[in-house]
């Protein structure tokens, strides 16, 4: 298995994340790109601030890739990069890339990856609006 995980304060390039998976055995690479949303319903977000417990977050991301390899054995490589710090609307917060010889298992594995990150990775986001701010969680 080829695994790369990173919590970074730098802008995230999807191409660079995908390049981590380069291998002639790959026939399919799927990516999820999470970007900063400026509108939630009627409410306008000005910017977001992401915070992580970096050592544990990277360990958790690695654990999630191990869960994926166990459940979807065709997936042979994974790269997950999550940005922290202040992000503007439209900027990339997270890129997940998974590679396999064939596409069949990659979509379910990708869906699992982002759901699992939101569930257990020690990463937080704070939304800033014109009239306030709040930490956001779906759990």
């Amino acid at each position: 298995m080829n695994t790369f995980v990173e919590i970074t304060e730098r802008p995230v390039s999807t191409d660079e994340v995908v390049a981590r998976l380069a291998n002639p055995a790959n026939g399919a690479i799927v990516t999820f790109i999470g970007v900063v949303r400026g509108l939630t319903g009627e409410r306008e977000t000005r910017h977001l601030e992401y915070e992580a417990y970096p050592e544990m977050a990277e360990k958790t991301l690695r654990q999630i890739t191990a869960e994926i390899y166990a459940r979807w054995p065709d997936v042979r490589a994974a790269a997950i990069v999550h940005r922290v710090g202040r992000l503007e609307i439209g900027e990339t917060a997270v890129v997940i890339a998974l590679a396999a010889a064939h596409r069949a298992q990659t979509f379910d594995a990708l869906h699992y990856a982002i759901d699992r990150i939101k569930e257990i990775a020690p990463i937080w986001k704070k939304e800033f609006w014109a009239d306030g701010a709040a930490w956001r969680s779906e759990h």
């Binding site: 999470g34 544990m56 990775a121 990463i123 986001k125 930490w135 759990h139």
Partner: protein
């Protein structure tokens, strides 16, 4: 024993700091530390915080040891 407590996100804002050493009696558990933290920072008790010991989520019954790093983890929301 001495342990180091790290705070993140809303728990960091409530505590007013990112980390803080705590002294606990030998044999103390995470539950004992939680009680100390909730007494020091009552607003923390209203948050649904979980704890990690040395980078792993841990139940409140976990025994603590000298030098442990404990993280106060409010509801996460990455992605």
């Amino acid at each position: 024993m001495r342990v180091n407590v790290r705070f993140f996100a809303v728990s960091r804002e409530i505590a007013g700091m990112a980390q803080q050493p705590h002294t606990l009696p030998e044999g103390a558990t995470l539950q004992d530390l939680q009680a100390q933290l909730f007494a020091d920072y009552p607003a923390l008790a209203a948050q649904r915080v979980r704890f990690a010991v040395n980078l792993t989520y841990a139940p409140l019954t976990s025994p603590l040891h000298e030098g442990d790093e404990i993280a106060c983890i409010p509801p996460v929301g990455g992605g």
